[in-house]
Symmetry: none
């Protein structure tokens, strides 16, 4: 992919990428998939005159998480650029992360003390209610704001989960996140002491140990959540921005924090807006249309219903999107692409490895190969089955943003 | 694909891979291929509800031998893992090879002696009958059992061919097979002296020189086969087992020694059984069904008839397999894949580079794209045209044996 660097050029074109999270499916009723069951006249009409195909997010047979799924369609090799668990958790809970941060996932846990030593009794503190978590985390954040000049940011998740970011005063060398998990993975054992695998990581680990000590002291009278176990220490990956890599001023219109976070990792501006409907997203898009080259619009609920195994819900969201599609098209993007970051078949109630339908429309496509925007119809398309990481260069090409390679 | 290592998991699923050797073909009558000419109601019925496609064994335009062909579909990059000719020949003649072995292909040859020096008169000893070869080899094996503590195993092949394995008392360092061929490739020349390119190989070469000397002495009164020329010294490649790589307890049901040998190279248990028909293979499969996760069933004759240019014979074998298919399906594998290791079009009377039809059936496929199991119908399928080396990870995914990659 190094050849791109030399051939990227800029122009005034607008590229719109709409990601319906977990879009792809499998047959659920009458041998038809969610996309096949949905009534989607606008999508079908667009598919008829678009380049269609299916993309493979990571590799054949590989089921991607949201991180690798999105990195791929943004044009970043998801095997080369790995996002640590801690970073993803922090992003998901709405913490901005930067180069000076170490992020980690936390679990509230229950311990008992024997001869002054903590012994894990429940690794998830009886899955305390989220409300309880919020109360405790608020208190913790109020009492721990900083340790040895390192800012500590704590955010509650669902039930017993939380994310913690240690914000150092300056950029940390690569490898500073090489710290072991403290979760012993078994009850009846002592939590592990976090230690750094190298001198830089050990400096971080010192701060973490003080944090655990302070937190245990503050939490000691809690009935259940009297300890915090930590897993997945991670730094922000060293990743070029979309401006650097593709010459694109890119922005993100998404509702959920994790997707905003993923977009910001590759240098997209995250547009904040009121509301959470597709209509709200379209209106936000209109407002910023003049300011950017590349617009990533994320629609979450296709995935959520897929995860629940609720194929009717997924069908309905697809139909809802279809109704809004003309409003997106009214903006007359030079290139529009519609796809998912991975498949989430209701049948599997989770992410899957199946290739994801994609359409790309611009004045420079063949089209005329697919009657509808479905898995099986996209198989007939001119894009064939392609790796997700190639999508962005196709969008650039269709926007006439790539010069000739070689003479 | 180092990422597989971290995401492979185990469960109780059963994966059945049936390889019809040399399956793919080209038009031979009325513009139809062998698969298109065959009457295959069961295969077609399965193809209709399966993921279909074509796989490329090694690379576009590359015609694979049996070694690379099988390694690919077993999930091993056939360019990374190369199997030396000597090893393949030994496996083909039914010699088990291990880490302490150096294997080599032999030709019985005719030499005359001039001033005590051998001069090659016929590099193939007039292609002596196989019976003659067997008699001579038996005598040779009886008289040479060991040289300097190195066990010598000699097996006759067809006509003038044989394989020799030098079994050392301990594992040999990599590169110990760097020994030149002794065949001068021309008559009227002296056989070359085998020499090692490095000290380890030279130790082996010393044993080989003594072997040649002894053999020449024993054979000196044979009329034609009075010498042995050696080519393709090789060690067993250093290759992880399917258990190590994919977490699969794998077994092989095959009739011909080479395929059993290839399977054993990747750590499959080779199941021995009486008979050689497809029916015998099905019955053997039933017997061991509870004991393994992954079953490789090899059917040879599609390739043999292809090599003979006998398209009617190939059609008949395909039809014979089709009749047996319901018996395989009765075992209710969680995942079944049917394909070939390469194409052997009757038209070409040999292996070819053409992509090979494949179907994969599990509860987690789209299906509904191919009316039959043929080259042209498989082109319409959801697998597209894929590298053979990706097949195993797709089988694992369909067996729900891969965890999510990334969060």
């Amino acid at each position: 992919m190094d050849i791109l660097k030399d051939i990227v050029k800029k122009n005034n074109s607008k590229i719109l990428l709409i990601v319906l999270d977990g879009l792809g499916g499998l047959p659920v009723r009458d041998g038809r998939t969610e996309l096949e069951l949905a009534n989607t006249p606008n999508l079908d009409n667009l598919a008829k005159k678009s380049a269609t195909g299916l993309h493979i997010p990571v590799d054949y047979g590989i089921t991607p998480g949201s991180g690798p799924g999105h990195l791929g369609i943004f044009g970043y090799d998801p095997v080369k650029y790995q996002i640590g668990r801690g970073i993803l958790e922090a992003l998901g809970l709405g913490i901005d992360v930067n180069e000076t941060d170490i992020a980690v996932r936390g679990n509230y846990a229950t311990v008992r003390y024997e001869n002054g030593k903590a012994i894990v009794v429940d690794r998830r503190a009886g899955r305390i209610p989220t409300e309880e978590n919020r109360r405790i985390t608020k208190r913790l954040q109020e009492e721990i704001k900083e340790i040895d000049g390192v800012k500590v940011i704590i955010k509650p998740g669902m039930e017993h989960r939380l994310a913690i970011v240690f914000r150092f005063p300056e950029k940390l060398p690569e490898g500073s996140d090489a710290i072991n998990d403290t979760d012993p993975q078994q009850v009846g054992k002592e939590p592990l002491i976090p230690k750094g695998e190298n001198p830089n990581a050990e400096k971080v680990a010192q701060v973490v140990r003080k944090f655990i000590e302070k937190a245990s002291e503050i939490l000691k009278n809690e009935q259940k959540a009297n300890y915090i176990l930590l897993r997945g220490f991670a730094q922000k990956p060293n990743i070029p921005t979309m401006e650097e890599k593709f010459g694109l001023r890119a922005c993100c219109i998404a509702v959920y924090p994790m997707y905003k976070g993923l977009a910001s990792l590759v240098g997209m501006d995250v547009i904040e807006f009121e509301g959470s409907s597709i209509q709200d997203e379209v209106e936000t898009l209109k407002k910023v249309w003049e300011e950017y080259d590349y617009f990533f619009v994320h629609i979450k609920k296709t995935d959520s219903y897929g995860e629940d195994g609720n194929y009717e819900g997924k069908v309905k969201i697809i139909e809802d999107f279809d109704k809004h599609l003309p409003k997106f098209l009214e903006l007359s993007p030079d290139v529009i692409a519609i796809t998912g970051d991975h498949s989430t078949p209701s049948l599997l109630k989770g992410h899957s490895w199946h290739p994801v339908p994609i359409l790309i429309h611009s004045p420079y496509v063949l089209g005329g190969t697919s009657e509808r925007f479905t898995e099986r119809e996209c198989l007939k398309g001119e894009l064939g089955i392609l790796p997700a990481v190639k999508i962005t260069q196709l969008l650039l090409a269709n926007a006439l943003r790539l010069k000739k390679y070689g003479a």
